[in-house]
Amino acid sequence: MRVFGIILLALAGASVLAWAIRPAPAPPGVTPLVWVSDDNPARRGHIEQFNRLHPDLQLRLDPDNGGMEKVIVQSLAGVGPDLFDCYGPQQLASYVKAGIAWDVTAELQALGVDPRQDTWEAVHPHVFYEGRAYGFPANVSVDVLWFNKDVFDRLGVPYPTNRPWTWEEFIPLAQKLTVREDNGRIRHFGLCFDTWVWKLFLHQWGGRVYSPDGTRCTLDSPEAIAAMQFTQDLIYRYKVMPSPADEEALAQQGGWGSTSIKFLGSGRIATAIGGRWWLCTLRDYKGLRLGAVEMPHGPIRRFWGYGKSTLVNRNSPRRKEALEFLRYMTGLPYNRLINQQADGLAPMIRHCGDETLANPQFPQEDYHAVFRDVMPLGAPEQISPFVNAAAAERIISIQLDLVRRNAKSAADAMRSAAEEVNEEIAKTLRRNPSLRRQYERLTAKAIPTPMTGTEGGGRP
């Protein structure tokens, strides 16, 4: 018993010590705010600037509680953040349905901001749900064609110029830039892009992931098949891009978003499709000489736009104060900082002038206007309310992997993907009566319910 008592006392002492050294609370009169976002140096810059501009508020970053499930569960339990980032339309829908995203339509109007007019279209689905605004865009991006000037100089190939051009024009250049050593190993490839860029080609060939009403996956359309066939041809017909096996051979280590950036930075590829946010990493490569131009296009001159938004927790007791951060996001200081840090492009169109894009610390970067000029061509992400986006993404990515590994033709893979995603839609409809009614309204087609004995059945 004595030993137990001693240990209990020791634990109590440790608890008192932990209590004593806990982080200091905000000073009297200062309201603390917690923002769940990624631990990016850019965020720290924003926090410093915001706190300086708002001495009555103290914004803190919480990078450890990111992830939708944590944000939702913590917010519903009353211990959620005041502000959190949203990475796509599907996430926005989930936050709204969970009742934790605050409808700030009226508040933004009161601030004199109209996100539909003032921000880039590509990121509107990250903010608007059923016509209401639930936050403000944090940054946006449309990919361009990056090129490594050293590789071009080594081969004596002139740099590409910034103009609209097609893949047919680009391929001969990429073939010139793909160089093999005598033993057959590749010295550098002409082009590289990360797997998630596949939607870009879909837009350029006029394809869609889902029908406009979201009721059907349309990856089996001739346009979608042609787009994916082209990505396969870049690897196996034109031989200007690394296959997945080549990528694994080139890569010494993985990591999110790293593959193409590292290849470009290390001169293993001559050109790459990527966003302005790549600069956050590429600026660390000493002596790297880069250029950027509009990327080639397919039958349609259209690109893929993406980004993220910041939402206010509807259940936060400090949501009025948190709204100040959204107001800050509409202003010049925030937008200039985003542009100068190159964390994508600033969300406010009017704050993307040449004077905010250039960073005096990096005078050699003469390509920032390219990123702004292609923004209006960025198509927003397509989603379907009738399917779990992550489940659909998993199905599609397996089929795309088979295409990229030349294990399946683009036509077969896209048909399989469409079939499996449509089966997922059918599963959702069998389980969700309200979605089933919505689907029936859109398609004027009655879906048999599980109660009527069609458990295993039917595609939508």
């Binding site: 989930s94 349905k97 694994e248 051979a249 590994r405 389980r431």
Partner: protein, 330 residues
């Protein structure tokens, strides 16, 4: 004079105090077990009968056996179950290797403790670090594995033979199709799944199984081996007819634990080395459960998969236990 039976003697105050202290010491751990292990396990059983989705894409509801019915017709579930079984092909090799190393480590040599430590190193090195290292080793163009195989190939004059692409390849030793539960020659070869098996064997050979065998070997009665040797038995005969039967209880335990570990395994490898690819060929049931629960947020369905996995493990253990108990005579 007779003494009252000890059981009926009232406990002395000191003994009662000891019992109370023991219970108090056990209580936090037991409460922790109830709250953080038993509770969630039971909770997962309950939610496996629901359509609970963290994204709230559908209203919460009880769907009875709906998840289990869906699971049985889910082709991915069966593919990933097959992947799990395939990765378990390394278990017999691991066990045999562990026994061999234990026999070596059981010799009375100078510096044997240093050898034992060296062989055990992979077990207490961070798994993540090991996997990143193996990823580099398997690099098809620049990795030491293919460099060695390439040199051997050239030595044998087989330059036409293509070297394995390891983690980037869907081929496998029995020709499993990546999308269907069937065999095809097109996928015959050495690929990502085999790379993971080889790494698993390397990690396991000097690990806990070796320690268990080593402990069992050091507890074997010496007189049996000495008697066999006096009777003229050679080393192999001593091992086959004296040592191996004595190790049966350890082997029984090791097989059960390895199969349980194998059915639950593959998560770290998929997460760190392959992302479950190429084309899902290294996705095992545990990685599928993770993806369903924490990427697709289908908690109800993921719980159902977990419970089916539990039933598989339980049934295997039960059968093996019944069969093994009859065979074991030690």
């Amino acid at each position: 004079m007779t003494r009252a039976p000890q059981a009926s003697t009232p406990p002395r105050p000191a003994a009662r105090q000891n019992t109370t202290a023991a219970l108090l010491f056990l209580a936090p751990n037991f409460l922790g077990f109830l709250v953080f292990t038993a509770g969630p396990v039971l909770f997962s059983l309950v939610v496996s009968f629901s359509n609970w989705n963290l994204q709230r894409t559908e209203p919460f509801g009880w769907i009875g056996l709906g998840n289990f019915r869906e699971l049985l017709t889910d082709p991915r579930f069966w593919l990933y179950f097959l992947n799990t079984l395939y990765l378990m092909l390394g278990i017999p090799v691991s066990i045999a290797g562990s026994l061999f190393v234990a026999l070596l480590m059981n010799q009375k040599l100078r510096g044997i403790i240093a050898y034992r430590t060296l062989f055990y190193l992979p077990s207490f090195t961070s798994g993540v670090a090991l996997m990143i290292l193996w990823k580099a080793l398997y690099n098809p163009d620049f990795g030491p594995v293919n460099a060695g195989l390439g040199a051997l190939r050239d030595l044998l004059g087989l330059s036409a033979v293509e070297l394995p692409r390891w983690l980037g390849s869907m081929t496998n030793l029995i020709g499993l199709h990546p999308e269907e539960v069937r065999l095809t020659w097109q996928y015959l070869g050495v690929g990502a799944r085999d790379a993971i098996i080889i790494m698993g064997i390397w990690t396991a050979i000097g690990g806990n199984t070796m320690l268990l065998y080593l402990a069992a070997l050091s507890n074997l009665p010496q007189e049996l081996t000495e008697a066999a040797e006096i009777d003229g038995a050679g080393k192999w005969q001593v091992f086959r007819h004296v040592v191996w039967p004595q190790l049966a209880p350890t082997t029984f335990f090791v097989v059960i634990m390895s199969v349980i570990g194998g059915l639950q395994g593959g998560f770290e490898q998929a997460r760190i080395m392959t992302g479950g690819g190429p084309a899902g060929t290294t996705t095992t049931l545990s990685y599928y459960i993770y993806n369903k629960a924490f990427t697709e947020f289908q908690i109800g369905y993921a719980s159902a998969v977990s419970w089916v996995l539990f039933v598989m493990i339980f049934v295997f253990t039960l059968i093996y236990w019944k069969a093994g108990s009859k065979e074991l005579s030690y």
